[in-house]
């Protein structure tokens, strides 16, 4: 997860997209996609460790691990939708990007329902 490496990949990617737009514009979209993939793979390599430490902390608190996996899912969905929406708007599909963002919001909302449910239960349990 070396930030300079990722920035370098991004710059090289934009240069290659520029070259491809001039020579063959239909392949430029692929170059955009591949640049995104390579950068995200480098970023993700560092993320695995963070998730492990978080789950070990959560175990100490004896909380129900459904909460934590829900939050993890929400963060994951956020990343994926953000990444693909940016990709689609780059490649020219502006409306597609908006639809991806909308579906991401709906998915996050669906996942957050059980957490909300648990919150209400605990609050009700507190009231004498």
């Amino acid at each position: 997860m070396d930030i300079f490496k990722i920035i370098g990949i991004g710059i090289i990617g934009t240069i290659i997209v520029g070259v491809l737009k001039g020579v063959r514009s239909d392949l430029a979209v692929y170059a955009i996609v591949v640049t995104g993939i390579v950068m995200l793979v480098n970023v993700i390599s560092g993320l695995g460790g963070v998730v492990e430490t978080f789950s070990s902390i959560i175990e100490k608190t004896k909380l129900d691990d459904g909460l934590f996996s829900g939050i993890l899912k929400i963060v994951g969905i956020g990343y994926v939708t953000e990444y693909s929406a940016g990709l689609c708007s780059d490649a020219g599909g502006e409306s597609i990007a908006q639809k991806i963002l909308l579906s991401g919001k709906v998915a996050i909302f669906i996942i957050s329902l059980p957490i909300l449910n648990k919150l209400v239960e605990t609050v009700v349990a507190l009231i004498p």
Binding site: V19, L20, V23, A31, V38, I44, K73, G76, Y79
Partner: protein, 65 residues
């Protein structure tokens, strides 16, 4: 999963563009379109394969089953 894939795509793009020009000059237009489509398919397979790998690793990290 390095940057070499990016250069591969750029190479394919440039080569197919040159082949197109050559084939068009020697008035073999239908082969030129074949070359264009072949380039597109090769790059498509490459990209879809990488995308699958990326989404698998994302799914395994965020436990998004």
């Amino acid at each position: 999963m390095g940057i070499d894939v990016l250069f591969k795509i750029a190479g394919i793009g440039i080569i197919t563009a040159i082949l197109n020009v050559i084939l068009k000059k020697s008035d073999k237009d239908e082969i030129a379109t074949f070359v264009t489509i072949a380039g597109l398919i090769i790059v498509l397979l490459l990209v879809v394969d990488m995308l699958g790998g990326l989404f698998d690793s994302l799914r395994s990290i965020f436990r998004l089953y």
